[in-house]
């Protein structure tokens, strides 16, 4: 039930006039998720790796007594890992009963963006990325890719099943 509610956050945001988004950078791409889905943003933490776990799982973090699974979006999107591995940010999100950290390069500001600039996933987008995104905001100078938490966090279960 909780997931259904969460799922609807992104749709509710898109159904309004403007979307309030938390933006972040991965390599030279700009991405965002609705700010309502973000619990907090934290600096790099001590990570406990999960041996034999999926490659995109960097490991587990202790966030004030709660276990957070860190998902490296670079790896998930099929991009190379960051060289200076200390320079990254954790975006903490709750999905179902679990907490996750989306490991990204850099956090941008919270942005209010007109929904008129939104477009459903264009066909031309990279296949590796396509399965994780909800759509794209066409900004003046660049594109802002809206990620779907549901797709990112559920795909793992599917993958595992294979």
């Amino acid at each position: 039930m909780e997931e259904a509610v969460q799922d609807s956050i992104i749709e509710a945001v898109l159904s309004g006039d403007t979307s309030q988004l938390c933006g972040f950078k991965i390599m030279d791409g700009q991405y965002a998720i609705p700010v309502l889905e973000v619990q907090e943003v934290v600096k790099p933490q001590k990570v406990t790796p999960v041996p034999l776990g999926p490659e995109y799982v960097d490991g587990l973090i202790n966030l004030r007594g709660q276990i957070v699974t860190a998902i490296n979006l670079r790896v998930l999107f099929g991009l190379p890992r960051k060289e200076d591995s200390d320079e990254y940010m954790n975006i903490i999100v709750r999905w179902g009963d679990s907490l996750y950290s989306l490991v990204v390069d850099e956090i941008m500001d919270v942005m209010d963006i007109e929904n008129t600039s939104f477009e459903d996933t264009p066909d031309t987008i990279d296949e590796n990325l396509k399965k994780y995104i909800r759509g794209v905001f066409k900004l003046q100078d660049n594109l802002l890719t809206l990620l779907s938490l549901e797709k990112i966090l559920d795909i793992k279960v599917e993958k595992k099943a294979n």
Partner: protein, 886 residues
Amino acid sequence: MSDAQQAILQEFLVESFENLSSINDDLAVFERNPDDSELLNAIYRKIHTLKGSASFLGLAKLQEITHTVESILDFVRDGTLKITTDIFDLFLESFDLCLILLKDIEASGSEGDHDISSLMSRLNKVQEVNLIAGEVLVKDEGLGQVDPIASYTQELSNESSTESITKEEPTQVAENVVPLPKKNSNEVKPQAPAQAGEKSAAARPQIADSIVRVNVNLLDKIMNVVGELVITRNQILQYSKVKDDSDLNRYAQQLNTITTELQTDIMTTRMQPVGSVFNKFERIVRDLSRSQGKKVRLNIVGQETELDKTLLEVIKDPMTHLIRNSLDHGLESPQGREAAGKNPEGLLEIKAYHEGGQVIIEISDDGAGINSERVKAKAIEKGILTQEEIANYTKSKIHSLIFHPGFSTAEQVTNISGRGVGMDVVKSNIEKIGGEVDVESKEGKGTTFRLKIPLTLAIVPALVIESGEETFAIHQKNLVELVMLESEDFHKIEKLHGREFFRLRGELIPIVRLNEVLKLDKNEEEVYFLNIIVLKAEGKTYGLIVDNILDTQEIVVKPLDRALKSMSYYAGSTIMGDGRVALIIDAFGFYNQVDSKDADSSADMTDVIQAQKVDYDSIEVVLFNLGDGRTYGIPLSLISRLEEFDPGQIEWAGEQSLIRYRGSSMPLLNIEAILSLRGKSRLESAEQGKLNCIVTAVNGVNFGFVVQEIIDIAFSETALETETIDRSGLLGTIYINDKLITLLDIYKMVASTEVGKKVFGGEIDIRLKGKVLVVDDSPLYRRVQEDMLREAGLDVIMAHNGEEGLIAFKQNEDIQAIITDIEMPMLNGYEFSEEIRSINKSVPIIAVSTKVGDKDRETGLSAGFSYHLEKLNKREVLETLGKCLS
């Protein structure tokens, strides 16, 4: 009253006092805002709760009042009744009376004998009028004319002066105030209620004061804050060590102690023994069995098992449903049970225990079991599965269909189960908290539901270890022992088929290296010792080699997220004292993963072990000495009797010595001669005294093996090694108490003698052709049977247990007959046969067991056995096979 009931009652009282006082407050507010439907609903809900609990506890008066009030409120909610001041008064009076009743219950455990008829008649009037007219004119009914308080007081005094005297008090009066004349008892009486009143007034604050209700969310929050405190404490401790300031050190130590205490206390606040929920079932079972006319004995085991409060709340309803289900569908009526040859009193068992990092709750009954055919039919009828799909389903898979949404086999929907809340809801509720449900059922025997509940916040003792720079925890209950091997003993880890094994006191256990399995960084430095953690999980023992063993600790198990949870290597994660996260290794899942990986490669670990190891707890051996002074053994199961004979009774027929035994002559065998051992047999020696003789029956003929001395009966501890035998007539060697024992093959020995050849007679003549599957968990019998069948010319496929047998059968379509043992792990002979029959109706299944009773035969036939023979009757087995294969 039992403690359990007392506890329920206390809980009820706490809740009801609370509810009543808030109802009173709510009513007052509602009177001012009669349009506030939310508030009305709130009041309604509270009354409903009160009514529910009252009826559950059998408090008739409370139930009656609250029920009627609830009905009246129903009209108010519908809008058919407009609430008036009079009705308000009536309500308030009702709740006051409820309060008085509750106080009595608190003081004496019963409702007392208050007369509620006056109140009820007025309440009923309101209700009836509404029922009839659908709309009411309360005033006209003259309700308002009665002063409720006055009438109530009147009722009270009436009652105390008349009714109660005749009912309860006389005993008390008689006991305490015997000499008082009857007349005076009227004066004594009125004091009693007053005393009771005082007592309850004094008692009530006790409950209210000693218990504070705290929201679990708040506890969660506190827990998290404490977690942060722990981390800060650790930092301060570390800093204080660097600083070397004695004052700082002292304060840091104090902080340390206090924090630890606080942490433990907070964690314990969330844990509750499952008994607090289980005890409620006693009443449910009692009432349900009564109303259904069934006799049920409830057995509760493991009430002290602790589970997180939140989880307890969640499992309560699913468990209630399963219990109702067992009572309704599972257990038969006493007549039905008697007809089925069972104890007319059914058994319902609720069991809780820790296993594999989870709390397991089993609800089992010895009832009728699940009717697979009906489940099948239903599944097809409901379109859940097609006929073809279901044909491949095993029994257990069919049983699990009952958890499918929209599935209910109850032919009749009773008011106990089948009210739309199906098994699917049970399943989804349990799965929601990360648990599992499964069902195991045997038709006619009963059903067991097994709930696996994650520990979540459960605190478990764990061994903390380090490997490849990472810290891991292992549940202590899986820990058997720790072994440290020094470098000169490294050779004790042996390699077999590319796998490593370690001989632990004679038992061969597989060795797994944590660094290798988890692909952790290897310690490049030369190691001078190895740490082996011997673990046991669900019957499997193995050794885990880790870099360092750190400590044992109480850890809080935190579940992994959904994706990682499916990695069965880990049971969860935990936060260590220094704030770092450590993974908890699931001893069972870990081994299974390693094992299944090996199964892919050429060497199957289980196979290697099984080839090396006799099920040492299954073979009992009779030990004896022979002429050469060595100790030999014969499996006890092959022996009929141990006898002593007088040498003077021995008769000779040519070279063969015979003795009269049970009405016929029994050949006595000279083991030393047969095996060409050194030393002389007692048969040949001139020694005086009785002859010790081991009597066995081979093909129905008794043979006596003459031995020097019978020493002992012992369990074999180690693998049967067959490489060591140097002559026919020996089975192999085993270790017992660190002594090497040679096991004798009595069949070969008998067969090698002249008299034996006669007994086996035409045995050699039975030549058979075809492929036979042999399922037996004992390597010894497997070997005996394999030899026998191969000698007869058959192609033999061996399987170690029912499960393997099933796989082998599916893989080899040309199997013409199956020979199976009965007592086996995993899937026993009956279950195995049932499974086979569900896919193949015609293949002959020959069950062999050491002894066959009529009852066994019956069970066997219903499980699908074609024949049920004695295990060691070679001729019979071969002849039966001959019949099957021709």
